[in-house]
């Protein structure tokens, strides 16, 4: 169905809802590359004005990606919770923004609403929101998940300890894990991106991380970020797996380029659940996403990259993940050109995920060919901290020596805790105190003498 909006002497026409959504999106290089962006600043605002008048129910009747051709669309429509949606079912997108910002949208109301929010609705309202709106509403959303600790409680922020090494060297990875633990990191997960995809090598990494967690009784979980089918195979061989990882995207065709579909994800989750390794809860999945992945796989159906990213959270949602993060600046400047675009995308992704009830964290990051630097990352992580981000990455000195990009560091999370008063997952916070790494106020103690973790370093790394 076509849409029109008049601004003075000019009438702007939009071919359909998909076109309207793309033209209403704050400018970014990926939508320009796809040829779906607004042609002028005025057309962008005209599209937003037009979108503000669209009823939310339009997103239930006009699919942006065809229902018949795409299992993600079928998942979204077939599992939509009409009862949860009812309180906002009479609203336009513009009304919805006002409601979300109002005192009526309490944390409880937003949690009850989440199953009724489709990714297209979340994306649409985000396009009408300024950065402060994205922060203010996300901050009210509560998504709590559990495996061996409790993630997402109000006033907390977790950290993924990311101890990557260019050749998966056990000693090198162990050194980075110890460094991270001694800086108070690792409550979200100790998660390694392996350089190798061979099953024996992956099994060694899983045994290494499991050994450290068991030996020091750390209330956290481990993950080696490999393809879901590889994790399933490793589980079948009896190797200890806490969380099963997969990169996901917002269309069936983009997921096919990752070598997955919904059925494969279900198999992976069932394999992880069969091990019953969670002590507090059953959230066994870890997903990563990022704007631009569908276009990069030539599987975008002419839909803007931010809407497709929100659809990726719809893929995650039924699998009740422990963690989901957008790897916001990793893909490169052809999708998000500079610090401004990366910051906006990070806030949009976090807002959309939280509104949909997904435990969203963010890999606050950039590559060296993007127009971005550490100052931009400081800005984004501070804004996300204020927005109540579930977790961020912790990488030694921000420099991932395996993946060749820059993310947030062990130091960065200390800074956020200090300026925003953010605590860790409570079970992990208590462990750090028991181990003498932090004091009762959560601050690091100055390390004197030989800590038990360090005393064990030579044999752990052997």
């Amino acid at each position: 169905m076509p849409y029109r909006h008049v601004v003075g002497p000019q009438t702007y026409a939009f071919a359909d809802l998909k076109d309207l959504m793309a033209k209403a999106t704050p400018l970014r290089s990926g939508d320009m590359l796809a040829g779906v962006a607004a042609a002028s600043a005025e057309e962008n605002v005209a599209a937003r004005m037009c979108l503000a008048e669209v009823p939310l129910t339009a997103f239930l009747s006009e699919a942006l990606v065809p229902y018949e051709a795409d299992e993600v669309t079928r998942l979204i429509i077939d599992t939509h919770d009409a009862a949860a949606f009812r309180p906002v079912s009479h609203m336009t997108v513009g009304d919805f923004r006002d409601f979300l910002l109002s005192a009526s949208a309490t944390s409880e109301a937003l949690a009850a609403l989440a199953p009724g929010v489709t990714p297209e609705m979340a994306a649409a309202v985000s396009k009408l929101m300024r950065n402060q709106d994205l922060i203010a509403v996300a901050r009210k959303c509560r998504v709590v998940t559990k495996f061996r600790n409790t993630i997402g409680l109000p006033g907390t922020m977790a950290v993924r300890l990311q101890p990557n090494h260019p050749t998966d060297d056990a000693a090198g990875i162990t050194a980075s894990i110890l460094d991270g633990l001694l800086y108070g990191c690792g409550d979200a997960v100790i998660g390694i991106n392996p350089a190798s995809d061979s099953i024996p090598a992956l099994s060694e990494l899983l045994k290494l991380t499991d050994g450290i967690i068991q030996r020091f009784e750390i209330p956290t979980q481990a993950c080696v970020l490999t393809h879901v089918t590889t994790s399933t195979e490793v589980i079948n061989r009896g190797v200890p797996v806490d969380l099963v990882f997969q990169s996901v995207a917002g269309t069936q065709a983009a997921n096919a380029s990752f070598g997955i579909d919904l059925a494969v994800l279900k198999e992976g989750r069932e394999a992880a659940l069969s091990l019953k390794r969670g002590t507090l809860g059953d959230n066994v999945m870890y997903f990563e996403t990022g704007q631009g992945s569908a276009l990069s796989a030539n599987a975008h159906h002419g839909v803007d990259q931010q809407t497709l990213e929100a659809r990726a959270y719809a893929v995650c949602r039924p699998f009740e993940p422990l963690l989901v993060n957008t790897v916001v600046g990793f893909i490169g400047p052809e999708y998000l050109y500079d610090g401004k675009q990366i910051i906006r995308a990070g806030l949009e992704d976090h807002f959309c995920g939280k509104l949909m009830g997904v435990p969203l964290g963010c890999d606050v990051c950039y590559t060296n060919h993007a127009e971005a630097d550490q100052d931009d990352m400081d800005t984004l992580m501070t804004l996300l901290g204020a927005a109540g981000v579930t977790y961020i990455m912790g990488i030694p000195g921000s420099d991932d020596v395996m993946l060749n990009y820059q993310s947030t560091s062990f130091h960065d999370q200390l800074y956020l805790r200090e300026v925003l008063g953010l605590k860790r997952a409570p079970e992990f916070e208590a462990w750090l105190q028991r181990m003498g790494i932090t004091g009762p106020d959560g601050r690091l103690k100055a390390h004197r003498g030989n800590h038990p973790l360090l005393a064990a370093a030579p044999e752990l790394a052997a």
């Binding site: 590359l33 060297d169 090198g172 050194a175 980075s176 460094d179 030694p396 020596v401 820059q406």
Partner: protein, 270 residues
């Protein structure tokens, strides 16, 4: 300044050192950095800033195509300079599709130089690091020249391409009637590796080839894979590719089985 303020405090008094500094020797990761409050010590902030500056410069330093071309010609190769369809660096970064295709002039220049079918076309592409091409392309080609002579392969003129990505080699190799194309490309610079060269090998180059149809040798640089070792690996892959008439996921690099005490055997010239 008040007179009673202590003036003798040493800067390092404010830095908390990490007692596990010796672990830093077993990984290239930036561990045991110490801290000033919750932040990095000044020394580390500046060390990081320098690494980032070098990586940024690697992306944005103008490619000295004329000098690289002259140096390659001095090795005894025929050469030809071309540009991609991306007119400027900022466009190149935003539009990867343009960096994968030749400019009109470049296409015409290659058509003019195309002769009889050859075994190999070599394309030198600035990619995402002109620094890498400036530092590695000529010494690598010097090492590779001996391997070409050993195998007796026929070569098209070496194409030196500005604002170019790997897939530009598909179009260049096709026009030059090469059985296989080798693309030397400046890799996306890492914080600790701004000058890393990548080598991509594609059998039967045609516009539209996918990355799954290529073989890659990565991290060619001083602290990584040596020029001699990389040239040996590439020659091994080329021999296999020309014999089996394919490249990509079904061609696995097993050249390491031929190393002598970890080093490639010297080329035997005939």
């Amino acid at each position: 300044m008040s007179e009673d303020k202590p003036t003798h405090a040493h800067a390092s008094d404010y830095v908390i050192h990490d007692v596990w500094e010796k672990l830093a020797g077993i990984t290239p990761a930036r561990i045991a950095l110490g801290r000033a409050g919750t932040g990095l010590p000044t020394r580390e902030v500046l060390r990081f800033a320098l690494a980032h500056a070098q990586a940024r410069d690697a992306v944005h330093t103008p490619f000295d195509s004329a000098q690289v071309t002259a140096d390659i010609a001095a090795l005894g190769f025929e050469t030809v300079e071309v540009a991609s369809a991306a007119p400027a660096r900022d466009v190149y970064l935003r539009r990867p599709d343009l960096g994968r295709r030749l400019s009109e002039e470049g296409r015409a220049a290659l058509r003019e130089r195309a002769g009889e079918p050859v075994d190999i076309a070599i394309v030198v592409a600035d990619g995402l690091s002109s620094t890498a091409i400036h530092a590695q392309a000529v010494p690598f080609l010097a090492a590779f020249k001996a391997r070409v002579a050993e195998a007796g392969w026929s070569l098209a003129p070496v194409v030196v391409a500005s604002q170019a990505r790997v897939a530009l080699g598909d179009e260049a190799g096709e026009i030059l009637k090469a059985q296989a194309v080798v693309v030397l490309v400046g890799e996306r610079p890492g914080l600790s590796s701004p000058d890393s060269l990548g080598l991509y090998l594609t059998f039967a180059p045609r516009v539209g080839r996918s990355d799954a149809e290529r073989n890659c040798i990565s991290n060619v640089r001083g602290e990584g894979l040596s020029h001699e070792h990389a040239a040996f690996k590439l020659a091994w892959l080329l021999k296999e590719a020309l014999a089996r008439r394919l490249t990509g996921v079904s061609l696995k690099d097993e050249s390491d089985l031929l190393l002598v005490a970890g080093h490639p055997p010297a080329p035997r010239l005939r």
